[in-house]
Structures are given as structure tokens and as C-alpha cells.
């Protein structure tokens, strides 16, 4: 294997991929991947779903899915080629010198074992004497700043929150003082405020033990703050690789720029998001892509781009780009414009009013005392036609429940919902009136789709209460799929045959099918990649322009709220703690809870230290 003589003379990097290629059925799923992670540094692998970023972790763990195999290149862990290592020796490295932090903290722990038993198992493998195990466990948990390690040790995973579970997994990963930690989207399923803590802990541990971290993420801003170096992946290739600061301040590859242009900012002037046309090529499409894999979606692509695969060039210090075009080419900077805000008539009757709504859930035990659980505590709000209102808050703040109450799926314990100034009752006529005006896009995209209906029948579901001609449904479905950026051929597929992001777009398409006047969107952007997210957000803005649609956006992503909404409502434990115009709230938050939420957003300015040490 060819390796630089210079790097061979110096201390070898902790992890180095050299022309690593993974194939499946003749298709190069990962093509010519080369990167180096020195000891004690953090390398970010950034990309949207389908870019192949998780595949890298799987190669390291020797856990490629069936049908996938490394066909060329090597992957050095210090001086050992992991691909050539005998399975025994490879397995010995895993969990000792190479540790993993998984994406879904809740499902990564065995629900039948206590946290202490998880540690005991792992420590037994590390040959820690039995008498020391509890001490080591407590110490590792204390490192995670868990309030009371002694209690957590004897608890089961389901008794802990997602953030606590992720801390436990971090502790498990670091207990063997590994040299390399692979963190695959460790905060993707967590609240923003929890994410800050986890990221802070990860960085502390990393600097304390001098660990090298391979951080796999789709969040650009997060990677910019956390990582030393980043590699941007597109369709199984590294398209840009360099020092994090350089890549983020001045992205050179058209795809990196497109990602940046599609990412809503939390500071600075409001600008229109731009999303590159098309979508990430799937496994079947990769085979037919000649030349630059990004060329079909690239605004500056030329004939030459399709001719041959571009090599990684080094146009400046600390950065390599896989693009044949000169970087002097002017970036298509998105235009800075005034935010698109609705003009609402203050005197008109609001489209929707929520009038002092309460909701309590109670346990329904026959013999046990019924415990009341107040989910919504006296919430009032109103939305005008064409107004976009955002609700922010953490898990358990009651924002999803509020959305379901407005939709009418949950009944409020007290209070009224008014549509066009008239209260909505329980009658069938009122239900009709409600669902004609209001639609809800559910948070969990898979659960909201009947697994036995095709996408075509799902997106046109609102039309099917009455008999319809099949061509009419097909035409409407085609328009909706195009609007939401779904390829036309998904129409005949079942939900199990499309990706999570595509499921979410099917849900959005269904919500828009009968063109409601108010759309309640419960975390609709959270499972989407930035370029798809930009497309959906712009679609919503277009629908407001064309149809005066109003939006109640439930989200934890403040940048998305800032992009779309003119008003923000902050919810905490079932109550509205603060509300006002987006600009006012985000510029000068009054309530401490709002301030905490805002401080959890990675700042635009890379020179600011984030997350702040606790």
C-alpha cells in the first residue's frame, strides 16, 4: 500500500483511510475515501442521508451489511490495517481501543439489564477484577456529571431519559480509555439543550484522555464548533476535506456551498434558502453516474464534469476539494432579502383561537388512586390567516399535545378552540368544518402512514372519503410528490420501501393534499436533510403566498422557526412562558428558559466558544 513517506516517518495517524472503496453489486458505494485522524483530534464526517457516512463506521466495526464489501484501499489503525487484521485481533480492538457511541441511546441499551449490569459485562471483558467494577462504574458515571451515580447504577434504561441514556453510553465508551471513539449522530434524537450537554461532555472527555474522535453528523454548525477537521461526503465520496474553520468560512465545493446555502441561519440577516435541485442518488442510480457524482445537481457543472471523475485537488492550505472548477468562481450567494412575513389584518377575526385550554391525563386504575398529570395548563393563542407561528420547547413541554388538541384528536379538559371566531363542538358538522380547515402533520412519519397503502393512495387520502376516479388521484399525487421533492416513482411503493425522510415528505404532501387553511406541523423538519428541509420550508412559504395558508410550526429547531415564523411561542411544562415576534424573542429573550433554549443553538460565529463549559 502506498503511503506518504513523510507521514510514515512522523507518528502515524490514529486512523487513516487510504483509497478506501466499498462496493455492492459492482456499485462503488464508497469511492476512493482517504482521510487521516491524528491522535487526540476530532474529525467530522458530514453528509446527508445516503452520503455513506455511517458506512465508514461500519467498515471500522467490520459490520458491513450483507452484499457490501471493501473492494480496494486500506484502513490503518495506527500501524495495523484493520481490513487485513485477523478477526480475533480485530475484535480485541473493538470496545477496548476503539469504542462506539450509537445514534439511538434508548434502543442501544438492553432493557432487561440495569446500568450497573451493562458496565459489569463490559468491564468483565476488559478484565477488570470483580471487586473494582462498581468503583470504576461509579467513577465513569460521575465523569458524566450524572446527579447521583449510586442511584443510576441500579436503574434500568427505561427509567432514564434519552439524554441520561446517552450519557451512560458515553461513559461506557470511554471507560476503557479508548484511543478512538466513533460517534454516529450521538445527539440526533435528543433535545437541543440535552445535545449541548452531551457535546460538552464528549469534548471534555476527549481532551481529558487525548482520544481521537470520528464524529459522524449531518449538522454543519455543530461540526464546525466541535471538530478540528471535517470531511464533507456526497454520494460515497469526500468532496471537500480540510480544517473545520476553513471549510465553513469558505466552502469551496459546490455541494458544500449548497449545504451552507440550504442551512437556515440563526443570526445575521434573513436570506432565502436555496436547495440544490434533485436528490441524493440512491444505490441504483450511482452506477449510471459518470464523472463527478454531484454534476447533475450542480449549478456550475460543464461538459468536462461528466467526462471523468475529478480528483481531490488542494487549492489552498489545509483544504482539498473534489471539483475540476477553479474556486475563484464566484459563489452563488443567496440574496439577502427582507424576511417573507405575512401581512396580517389585526382587526380581522383570527383564523384560529385557542382559548384558555387545559389538558390533564389521568391514570385509569380501578383500585389505584388516579394521578392527574397536567399536560397543558391554561394556554391561549391565536393565529391569523396566512400567519406562521412557531411553538418551541423541549420534549414534554406539551407542544405536541397542544397541536393534537387544536386538530381535535385529543379533547381538552377545559377551554375552547374557535375557528373563524366560532367555537368548535363535538358534532359531525363541526368535525367536517375542522378537518377542512385544519390539517396536522404527525411527528413520527412512519407511524402516521398505513403500511399497507401505497404512497399514491397515502398522499391522496383526504380525497378518498368520497369516491374518486383513479386518474384524478394519480394527477393530484403527481403534483404533491413534485412539490415535496419526491421522485415520481415512489408513488407505487409502500412506506416500508422508502426512507424516513421520504416518509416525512409523504406526510407533508398528505397534509397539503386538500389545501387546508391551517397546517399544524409537528417537528416536520427534524428527520429531513438540510437540502430537503430547505425545499419544504420554501414550499410552505410559497403556499402562503399563493393560498394564504397559515402554519403552526412545532419545532425544537430555532433556526427553522426563525426562517419561517413571524411569531414565536415558548412553552415549558404545559405553559406559555414567553411569546412575541420572532425578532424580539430571539434578540432579547426575557425568560430564563428561552435563554437556555437559545444558548443551545450553535452560534454562527465560529470564534465563540460553544458549548460553554458547564
Amino acid at each position: 500500500m502506498e503511503r506518504d513517506t513523510a507521514s510514515a516517518l512522523a507518528q502515524p495517524p490514529l486512523l487513516e483511510a487510504v483509497h478506501l472503496t466499498v462496493e455492492s453489486g459492482g456499485t462503488k458505494v464508497l469511492r476512493d475515501l482517504s482521510f487521516a485522524l491524528p491522535h487526540g483530534r476530532i474529525l467530522g464526517l458530514i453528509g446527508e442521508s445516503g452520503a455513506g457516512k455511517s458506512m465508514v463506521g461500519r467498515v471500522i466495526a467490520n459490520q458491513l451489511p450483507p452484499g457490501f464489501a471493501v473492494s480496494a484501499g486500506s484502513l490503518f489503525f495506527e500501524t495495523d490495517d484493520l481490513l487485513a487484521l485477523p478477526p480475533d485481533a480485530h475484535r480485541k480492538l473493538l470496545g477496548r481501543r476503539i469504542a462506539f457511541v450509537p445514534q439511538e441511546p434508548m434502543s442501544a441499551l438492553n432493557p432487561a439489564l440495569t446500568i450497573g449490569q451493562h458496565f459489569a459485562e463490559h468491564l468483565a471483558r476488559l478484565e477488570v477484577p470483580k471487586s473494582d467494577r462498581r468503583g470504576v462504574t461509579l467513577e465513569a458515571l460521575a465523569d458524566m456529571r450524572l446527579a447521583s451515580p449510586e442511584r443510576v447504577v441500579d436503574q434500568y434504561p427505561f427509567q432514564l431519559s434519552g439524554g441520561m441514556c446517552q450519557r451512560v453510553l458515553l461513559a461506557l465508551a470511554f471507560v476503557s480509555k479508548p484511543d478512538l471513539v466513533i460517534a454516529d449522530e450521538p445527539t440526533a434524537s435528543l433535545d437541543a439543550t440535552t445535545q449541548v450537554h452531551i457535546i460538552g461532555l464528549l469534548r471534555n472527555l476527549q481532551s481529558k484522555y487525548g482520544t481521537g474522535v470520528l464524529f459522524i453528523t449531518h449538522q454543519l454548525r455543530l461540526a464546525a464548533h466541535l471538530c478540528d477537521d471535517v470531511a464533507v461526503l456526497y454520494a460515497g465520496e469526500i468532496v471537500e476535506y480540510g480544517a473545520a474553520g476553513t471549510v465553513f468560512r469558505r466552502p469551496r465545493h459546490p455541494y458544500s456551498r449548497a449545504l451552507e446555502g440550504a442551512n437556515p441561519r440563526f443570526a445575521g440577516p434573513w436570506r432565502q434558502l436555496l436547495s440544490p435541485p434533485g436528490h441524493m442518488p440512491g444505490l441504483n442510480e450511482l452506477r449510471d453516474l459518470a464523472g463527478c457524482r454531484f454534476a447533475p445537481r450542480c449549478a456550475s457543472s460543464t461538459e468536462a464534469c461528466l467526462a471523468e471523475t475529478p480528483a481531490l485537488r488542494v487549492p489552498a492550505e489545509n483544504v482539498a476539494v473534489r471539483c475540476i472548477h477553479d474556486n475563484a468562481m464566484p459563489a452563488t450567494e443567496p440574496g439577502v432579502v427582507a424576511p417573507v412575513r405575512a401581512v396580517t389584518d389585526a382587526a380581522a377575526v383570527p383564523l384560529l383561537q385557542v382559548d384558555n385550554v387545559f389538558k390533564s391525563f389521568q391514570g385509569s386504575g380501578l383500585f389505584t388512586r388516579r394521578r392527574k398529570n397536567l399536560a397543558i395548563n391554561g394556554v391561549s393563542l391565536s393565529i391569523a390567516a396566512g400567519e406562521f407561528v412557531g411553538i418551541v420547547g423541549e420534549t414534554g413541554s406539551g407542544k405536541s399535545t397542544l397541536g393534537r388538541i387544536v386538530m381535535g384528536i385529543e379533547k381538552p379538559t377545559a377551554g375552547r378552540i374557535l375557528l373563524d371566531g366560532k367555537p368548535i363542538g363535538d358534532s359531525t358538522a363541526d368535525w367536517r368544518r375542522r378537518i377542512q380547515s385544519v390539517q396536522l402533520v404527525f411527528q413520527d412519519p412512519r407511524s402516521a402512514l398505513n403500511p399497507r397503502r401505497t404512497v399514491m393512495r397515502l398522499v391522496t387520502q383526504p380525497l378518498q372519503a368520497t369516491p374518486q376516479l383513479r386518474p384524478d388521484l394519480e394527477n393530484r399525487a403527481a403534483v404533491l410528490l413534485e412539490d415535496t421533492g419526491l421522485p415520481a416513482d415512489v408513488a407505487s411503493r409502500l412506506p416500508s420501501q422508502i426512507s424516513g425522510g421520504q416518509c416525512q415528505r409523504v406526510n407533508i404532501a398528505r397534509g397539503l393534499c386538500a389545501m387546508p387553511r391551517l397546517l399544524i406541523a409537528d417537528e416536520i423538519a427534524s428527520g429531513l436533510d438540510v437540502s430537503v428541509q430547505a425545499q419544504i420550508l420554501n414550499l410552505l412559504l410559497r403556499l402562503r403566498r399563493e393560498n394564504q395558508i397559515a402554519l403552526l410550526m412545532i419545532s425544537h429547531d430555532l433556526a427553522v422557526i426563525r426562517y419561517l415564523c413571524s411569531r414565536v411561542i415558548v412553552m415549558c411544562r404545559g405553559e406559555i412562558v414567553e411569546s412575541g415576534t420572532t425578532e424580539a424573542i430571539f434578540a432579547s429573550p426575557q425568560h430564563p428558559y428561552t435563554r437556555e433554549l437559545i444558548s443551545a443553538v450553535p452560534p454562527e460565529d465560529l470564534s465563540r466558544r460553544w458549548p460553554l463549559p458547564a
Partner: protein, 288 residues
């Protein structure tokens, strides 16, 4: 409803079970052709003739005769008719009754669900055989009443299992999605709930075939089923029991027919369950 019906015949259990049941159905239909004798014809000179492989067998009676000199083979063949009718009509009845009540209870929940669940609880606490005996005594013998009694006893099994499955489906958002898309309650139940529990219904249906045959045999054995003029496996067991010490085969043949039927039905149900539960289509190249 299920668009991609898997190939259930790949599963050997399905193949064996279905063949066994099909064979019995064919025998029942062709009974007048296949049976060598009138099943009720008594040849009092030829009582307790052993089957053909034993000494003293008669060429005209391949499986011998019973205590009244009736041809065992012919009675087995004609007995399949009642078994087939009961084994096909009873599962349909229990599915219709049990599933309908279960879907309504699971979908509307609240007081309706509570009432249904408690009724099922109480109903199931009666021993099923005793309950059907009591019902038969009240209803007077006859094929129609046998079916009615069995359905009334067995619908609870369907109801309980299906209701549990419906409650699981109700937790998913797609039921609420269908409602806010404008579907009526009936549309939601038929389009979204019924297809979701369809695999369970198929499985329970095939198990119920075996149960129905057994229950009918028990009733025949006691003598409260169809009229004594119609041969059934249950009444053959009763007759065979009287002469079991002189001629054990008169008991063994009908018992083995019941075993074959129940085993076939259970294998079919088991195989279908495996096939229908794992029919999730997978996506190519998911999560690179």
C-alpha cells in the same frame, strides 16, 4: 387489502396442512362415490369384523364393521361431511362475530370497550364444553344449532385476540391520520384497522377449524349433536368405546381422523402466521 401476498406455499407447514384439509374436503364431497356401503346399513351377520390386515377380515369391509355391523370405512367417509360443514361454517361465523365486536370495541374504546371486555371475560370463564352442552340442550339437536352453539361459545377467543391487536394499531398515528383525512368511522375500521389485523384473523381462522371439529365431535359423542341417522366421527367414537375391548379399531379410526384434521388445521395456521408476519418488504440499500 394485502397487496403483496407472499408465497405462503413456500412454507412446508402450509403445504402439508392445506393438503390434509383439502383431502378431507374432497372425500366429503365424493362420499357417495367413495363409500362402499350405505353408512347406516346394518349387516348383523357381520358385526365387529376386523380391518383388512387382520385375521378374519372380510373383503367387503376394508376397515371392518362396528358393533351393529355397519361399514367403518363408509361411516368415516360420510362422517367427514359433518366435519367439513362444521369446520368451514363455524370459523366464518366466529370470525365475523368476534372480529366485528373486537374492532368496534378497540376503535371506540371507553365504555364500549369496557363492556365488551368484561362480557368476554365472563363468557370465557364458563368451561366451553359445558357451555356448548347447555346451549345444545336448550336449542335442540341439529346441524344448524351445533354451528350456532359453537360460534356462540368460540367468538370470545377471536374477540379477545383481535381486540388486543387493534389496541396496538390504535396507538399508531395512521388511524388518527385517516380520521383527519376525512374518513368516516366505518371507513377507518374497514380500510385501516381490518387489514392490519388480517394476518391474525387468517391464523385464528385456521386454528378454529380444528377447534370446531373437536367441539362437534364432543357434542356427537355425548349425543346432543346432529340426528343419530347422520354418521359423525364423534358418534363413531361413542359406538367404538362400547366395543373397545372386542375391537379397538372402531375407536382408533375416528380418533385418528380428528387428529389428522386438527393437526392439519394447526399446521396451516402456524405456517400462515410465520409467512404473513414476516412479509415486510425491505428497502434496497437502506441507510448507507
Amino acid at each position: 387489502m394485502i397487496r403483496k401476498l407472499p408465497k405462503p406455499l413456500d412454507e412446508p407447514r402450509v403445504l402439508i396442512g392445506a393438503s390434509a384439509l383439502l383431502a378431507i374436503v374432497v372425500v366429503a364431497i365424493l362420499a357417495p362415490v367413495l363409500a362402499p356401503h350405505d353408512p347406516n346399513h346394518q349387516d348383523l351377520l357381520q358385526i365387529l369384523v376386523p380391518p383388512f390386515w387382520q385375521e378374519g377380515a372380510e373383503a367387503g369391509f376394508p376397515l371392518g364393521t362396528d358393533g351393529l355391523g355397519r361399514c367403518v370405512l363408509s361411516r368415516l367417509i360420510y362422517g367427514a361431511r359433518v366435519a367439513v360443514i362444521v369446520g368451514s361454517v363455524v370459523p366464518i361465523g366466529t370470525v365475523l362475530l368476534g372480529t366485528t365486536i373486537a374492532i368496534v370495541a378497540g376503535y371506540f374504546g371507553g365504555k364500549i370497550d369496557w363492556a365488551v371486555s368484561r362480557t368476554v371475560d365472563v363468557w370465557m370463564s364458563f368451561p366451553p364444553v359445558v357451555l356448548s352442552l347447555v346451549l345444545m340442550v336448550g336449542l335442540s339437536p341439529g346441524l344448524r344449532n351445533v354451528i350456532l352453539a359453537t360460534v356462540l361459545v368460540d367468538w370470545t377467543r377471536f374477540c379477545r385476540v383481535t381486540r388486543g391487536a387493534i389496541l396496538g394499531v390504535m396507538k399508531l398515528d395512521y388511524v388518527a391520520s385517516a380520521r383527519i383525512a376525512g374518513a368516516s368511522h366505518v371507513q377507518v375500521m374497514l380500510r385501516d384497522l381490518l387489514p392490519a389485523v388480517f394476518p391474525i384473523i387468517i391464523t385464528l381462522f385456521s386454528v378454529e377449524i380444528g377447534i370446531a371439529v373437536v367441539v362437534e365431535s364432543v357434542l356427537s359423542f355425548v349425543g346432543v349433536s346432529v340426528s343419530p341417522a347422520i354418521p359423525t366421527w364423534g358418534s363413531m367414537i361413542a359406538d367404538g368405546l362400547v366395543t373397545v375391548f372386542q375391537e379397538p379399531w372402531g375407536l382408533a379410526f375416528p380418533v385418528s381422523m380428528i387428529i389428522v384434521t386438527v393437526l392439519g388445521a394447526n399446521m396451516l395456521g402456524d405456517g400462515l402466521r410465520v409467512r404473513l408476519d414476516s412479509h415486510h418488504a425491505t428497502r434496497l440499500g437502506a441507510d448507507l
